[in-house]
Amino acid sequence: MKKSSLLLLVLLLPALLFAQAAAESSMLNSDYYMATDANNRTLKLEKKPSHLLIAGKAGNMPANALFLFEEVQSMDLTLPKTDQGLGDFFAFIRPDLDQKPRISQTASAEEIASRNSDLVLMKATHFESTAKKLDQLGIPNYTMNLESYEDWKAELSELGKLLKNTSRAQQLIQLYETRVKFITDRVASLKPQDKKTVLLLQAERSDAAYAYKIAPDSWMQTWMVETVGAIPVWKGANKAANGWSTVSFEQIAAWNPDLVILLSYKDASDIYLKAVQTSELWSLLDAFKQGNVKASPHDMMNYIQPVASWVLGLQWLAKEAYPALFADVDMEYEVQRFYQEFYNIHDRAKLEVLLDLYRTSVASNTL
């Protein structure tokens, strides 16, 4: 009896140990697909999402983050409109996206549900209007903010957990940190009196009339100017916390900045620069006289906004504000390196298209 009990125990022990290991492994795997979103909700997925949908307006921002991970290549994607007006970067790197109809930016929860996706990504601003309804329907969804440098780092880390690729997330964060540190280290030695005053203006036009707007203090555009060691002259002026505010030419003249950057997210910024170059009013500005009114850089997206390529915008801004300090920065090389390292694009033809767009966007700055 004792012998048989002992034999049973010997036989059961490995089975018990195997079961324990399997349970641990399962839990570990489960943790791997678990991440906390921008609205502080923890999403737990049993398997890696393969059918993914991006919902709502400003869908190009979560798409930007997602495409930094190679997992996206094997995913079946449904995207909203992601072309801001300068080209569709995502269809450019994945042409099959053009074969699939896009989902409306204002699609209802029911419409989203009908697409049977494993996961729905969206901007955190759609939490009340969409995410809560998807929760009621039991559809896994995940929100992202991506409005600041800190958001980018934290949310890439979480996205890495969700996609079971934390090493790539850490690599991306390090890539950003290295580039930002390169700039902050160099501008750290600037004396207060040597700091340039910079004005970023989002330009809009209607026929021959132009409007210029400034960003709120809390937005990434303001942070970018401060990070390159310059002084955003408009800081404190925009009382509208949630959007761009129009400023008059008088106010621009009163600020009298050293450097003016014209931005447009829908059009090529050089359109506005050309208008400024023929303006009697603008010709009286000191920045204009010194050739320091510039069009902002872009390829298929403007670099001076919270999309993945914001770091290129940061490098370009640093070089424009302090040319001597960043004389060794070759922006064309940086653009190429960015797409190789961040988006894993090594196709020469594709890189050349992006480089050409960048060159064209800033060509009129040197005229």
């Binding site: 026929d207 409007a211 400023v247 008059s248 003249a253 009163a254 500005l285």
Partner: protein
């Protein structure tokens, strides 16, 4: 003093008030020409005139903006006055009969369609504003309820609601990063974009509308009476009403096509005009026009000078207009008690 002398004295007082208002408007316009954000927030002093930037700002930015405020204020007030008299309803303004909502829809539609031409936005706003007026008029003919004025009021409410919901649909599909902001800013109204070209683009038509309304102002008193009464004194009420409505609508839609929706001017200044000049439109009409100019001038000057960023003028006209409205109603109430 007999009745004739009393009447002559009253007319003289009204002329003096009118001249005084004109003088105030001229003086304030001149003063506000020197108020702005450059070189510093506040007033531009003669010592600053040596700076070529100051001269350019005065002539190319502030002067056209002040003139546009005067013109737009006069037009909106004249239209409001005309509508209020024609409908014998003191709560009516140019936005009545769906005109404002129709114009807003027309402008928003063009913005979303991505047109870069402000002329197209102007044309679309005018066409849809007039379309709303026509729709209200035709609908009123088909209604089988109440008198002619009530039917028009009801059809105006219905047409306004239809264009409001259509505007909502346009805003829903608008690109949030650009088009939606443009529509929102346009609807808030503003003179921030004023230029000589803009003034010239509407000046001839708006001036013609103002002249026509001014010349017909004496008829407004008669047209505010019952149709039979106005017919008995030799007017053709139907024809005259349609003519004045169309002229007021064209002037309004053209104005708001470049200034955006500016509320309260057309509602509040005719009330003030009648308060100061009595119900005789010979004086209260031009008085309202000047008050409209003055009101918009003051609001716009606050909007462009108070903060580094532009304050949408619609916010200021609503705020100040509501305060004036409360004061007028309170005064009337107290007068009633007395």
């Amino acid at each position: 003093m007999n009745a004739r002398q009393a009447y002559a004295a009253e007319q003289r007082r009204r002329r003096i008030r009118l001249s005084f208002l004109l003088l105030i408007t001229f003086l304030l316009s001149t003063l506000f020409l020197f108020a702005g954000r450059y070189p510093k927030a506040g007033f531009t002093f003669p010592s600053n005139l040596a700076d070529p930037m100051v001269n350019t700002i005065l002539l190319q930015i502030r002067l056209p903006r002040i003139l546009l405020a005067l013109l737009a204020g006069a037009m909106l007030s004249a239209s409001g006055f005309t509508f209020q008299m024609l409908f014998s309803n003191p709560l009516v303004e140019p936005g009545f009969l769906g005109v404002s909502q129709g114009s807003a829809f027309g402008a928003a539609l063009m913005i979303v369609l991505g047109t870069a031409s402000s002329v197209l936005v102007q044309v679309s706003a005018t066409v849809f504003g007039l379309g709303a007026l026509l729709a209200s008029y035709l609908l009123a003919q088909r209604f089988r309820f109440g008198g002619a004025l009530l039917r028009l009021v009801l059809s105006g409410i219905a047409v306004s609601a239809i264009f409001s919901s259509a505007l909502g649909v346009v805003k829903l599909v608008a690109e949030p990063t650009k088009d939606l902001q443009d529509i929102t800013f346009w609807m808030m109204g503003g003179l921030w974009n004023a230029s000589w070209n803009q003034i010239l683009s509407i000046l001839s038509v708006v001036a013609a509308c103002l002249v026509i309304l001014f010349c017909y102002r004496w008829k407004l008193n008669l047209l505010s009476l019952q149709e039979k009464t106005s017919f008995s004194v030799g007017l053709n009420p139907k024809r005259d009403r349609v003519l004045l409505l169309v002229v007021a609508t064209i002037g309004t839609t053209l104005t708001i096509s470049i200034t955006g929706l500016i509320g309260w001017v057309g509602l509040i200044t005719p009330h003030l005009g009648r308060k100061l000049f009595g119900s005789d439109s010979s004086y209260s009409f031009p008085g309202s026009m000047i008050l409209g100019s003055l009101f918009l001038l003051v609001c716009d000057t606050i909007g462009r000078t108070l903060l580094p960023t532009e304050i949408p003028i619609g916010l200021l006209t609503s705020f100040l207009g509501a305060i004036i409205f409360i004061v007028i109603l309170s005064l009337k109430h107290q007068e009633g008690k007395a």
